[in-house]
Symmetry: C2
Subunit: 248 residues, 2 copies
């Protein structure tokens, strides 16, 4: 297969490099990734600034296109200009999980969603670790998943989250839905050396308890796989609103 | 009601000002908006930089909090620090429509989605105009909608798009779903004066044809109202995947 590899941690990220090594054993892998970290950018795209591309090489085999844009920009630019159509888009391996409400903020996920919008199947892959990351198993698992992708009629977008555990302690794979409960979060108010107030945004913890969600599956030691859509319509409310009338 | 007003065009935008005037006739309206334009930022949030707030005054009555962040940041910061819980969040009036796939890229919409995540009902309001904008009718209509909000059990997020037409030429209101067909889009490749290549991203036109969508309703001269969710799970694919197994 021809695979487009991207991420939101930037082209120099260890998780991308691990995935490149694992996937390029069997496939043609082309990297188009942000030149620097673009975490929590959501599905941002760059319209007001020009996009620039440069080729990055690391060592003998690793090269890719670095773009001064978001993950979604990278996928679009790859599709329309740099690479053309591919068989699969893989985004990751992200440093840190992308589950629950955080899925909406995730640049890693938005790259995969963008691929599905453009009609290509896609995986977003994240490792639930923020320190001492070891991407070995996650890269191995992703390559295995790529070899054994489910046959689905329409372009799918799967959000894969992998616990940061030794393989034998991972309990299995769960197909999940995205958790929707709000995070426990807060802003930390500080004063800078010049006497001005500023705030740090802190996501604290998940309050999700539903065992069918990505949040709980991951926390319980399972690899979670959540299929994602790019239709944001709330169909339940839509049916309630069908009789809504307003004279203006 | 106590209403939080925000947008993605920035606190100085005409559409926000028009909405402030229309809503503050009957309600307590507090503005927390980006200090500068943050269009197409999607559901980005700011984690790596501190957020700063300053009070902006324009004329006798208009004041608000300007934040150096995204629309979603504004809603979170308002909720947790600056304003506290409100009865309704209104985001807009955006300069330009937010329908179809563009809903995913929209900062205006993400502010409303963020409100719904935090358990508050919300409206995102956009005017389908990019030049010679007249926000009069759109502001009037939004105020009317606020007075006549449907009674729904859970916090709703309604994405409202208003044609830029004289009121008597608007054909009515349609409750719609979000269009999901990809845009006709392209990148324009240019060379800067220093001989370096750069790209401009250009969304060209909608290819959507389904009359039940926001895209087609708006194009046909209707006000479209689309309820939006923040659960991105693709439930159709989820049911297909229930039997998915993989040995690792």
């Amino acid at each position: 297969m021809k695979i487009l590899l991207t991420n939101d941690d930037g082209i120099y990220a260890e998780g991308l490099c691990a995935l490149y090594r694992a996937l390029s054993l069997e496939h043609e892998v082309v990297i188009v990734a942000p030149e620097a970290e673009r975490s929590a950018v959501g599905h941002a795209i760059t319209l007001s600034d020009p996009l620039r591309v440069r080729v990055v090489r690391r060592g003998r085999d690793f090269w890719g296109y670095a773009v001064n844009g978001t993950p979604a920009d990278c996928v679009k630019l790859a599709f329309y200009e740099l690479v053309g159509p591919v068989d699969l888009v893989v985004s990751g391996i992200n440093r840190g999980a992308n589950v629950g409400i955080n899925v909406l903020y995730s640049g890693t996920v938005s790259a995969a969603t963008e691929a599905a919008i453009l009609g290509r199947p896609a995986l977003a892959v994240s490792l639930a670790a923020f320190s001492g990351e070891d991407y070995c198993f996650a890269a191995y698992f992703t390559a295995l998943l790529v070899e054994n992708l489910p046959s689905l009629s329409s372009p799918f977008c799967l959000n894969v989250n992998i616990p940061h555990l030794p393989a034998h302690l991972i309990k299995g794979i769960k197909v999940t839905r995205q958790g929707t409960r709000k995070l426990k979060e807060r802003f930390e108010k500080r004063v800078d050396p010049h006497g001005n107030i500023y705030y740090w945004q802190c996501g604290e913890e998940f309050l999700e308890e539903d065992p069918d969600t990505d949040v709980v599956a991951l926390k319980s030691g399972y690899i979670s796989i959540t299929p994602l859509a790019h239709d944001l319509t709330d169909y339940k409310t839509l049916s309630f609103l069908q009789d809504f009338r307003l004279s203006y």
